[in-house]
């Protein structure tokens, strides 16, 4: 903690001059993520016949491939040809396995123009069914 110039904001009741980095809300010693856009939505699968696929496209026009967080509701494999919707949200990207095989994929990509949430959800009995998603897109490129 030798650097004595810049901006620091400490947590309440912590000494901004002497506290460790974990007790700083902000310090100009390290870069911080800058949120470009955030939002949520819901994708509905109708008439899927047990193979539900769709791609949600969220334009961002950041101009570079930006860092992002994205989360979604999902179905877990319970048994043969049975998937059950779970409570809460899971962070993209992930697959759901049944034994040695991946039965569902929840993938998130970005390029310089948009965020893509790519769903391939198999063996869900409900028709139609919906999954909610949440996203944060940052100004910061994936790698500088």
């Amino acid at each position: 903690m030798a650097q004595r110039r810049g901006i620091r904001v400490s947590k309440q009741n912590k000494n901004v001059l002497t506290c460790g980095y974990n007790d700083l809300i902000f310090t100009s010693e390290f870069p911080a993520l800058k949120i470009h856009a955030q939002g949520s939505g819901e994708v509905t699968f109708t008439g899927h016949g047990g193979t539900a696929t769709d791609t949600v496209i969220i334009p961002h026009n950041v101009g570079i491939s930006p860092m992002f967080f994205a989360f979604t509701e999902w179905y877990e494999h319970i048994g043969a040809l049975v998937q059950e919707k779970q409570e809460g949200y899971k962070m993209f990207s992930f697959g759901i396995s049944a034994g040695e095989f991946t039965v569902s994929k929840y993938l998130a990509f970005t390029d310089p123009t948009a965020l893509y949430l790519d769903y391939s959800v198999l063996n869900v009995a409900e028709d139609p069914f919906s999954l909610k998603y949440i996203y944060y897109i940052f100004e910061d490129p994936v790698l500088e």
Binding site: N22, A108, E144
Partner: protein, 103 residues
Amino acid sequence: MANRHGIRITKENENALFTITAYLYQLLSSRNAFKELSQGVADVDTNHNVTDGIPMVMSFRIVDSNTVQAMGNVEVTDSQILTTYIPGISFFYRVFYNKQTEA
């Protein structure tokens, strides 16, 4: 660059008035901000050099020259970013000083 009020902090040797937003540091906020410690490219288990807990790590796989995929399956211990579930795959990572569980 229409916004001319507030606080802007650039990286070293950048002009705070004219640098594009992506290359500014975070504007001052009353909320806890992510503090980035390091970044890089790896395809094997990699030390993250945080010694007092398990840091937040974001990781992305390169799909093509313009497209990256978020990777939710990178494991992080108190010393390393592990590639147990992504053997041989090259990925970008960014390590934050923020802990996965903060008091």
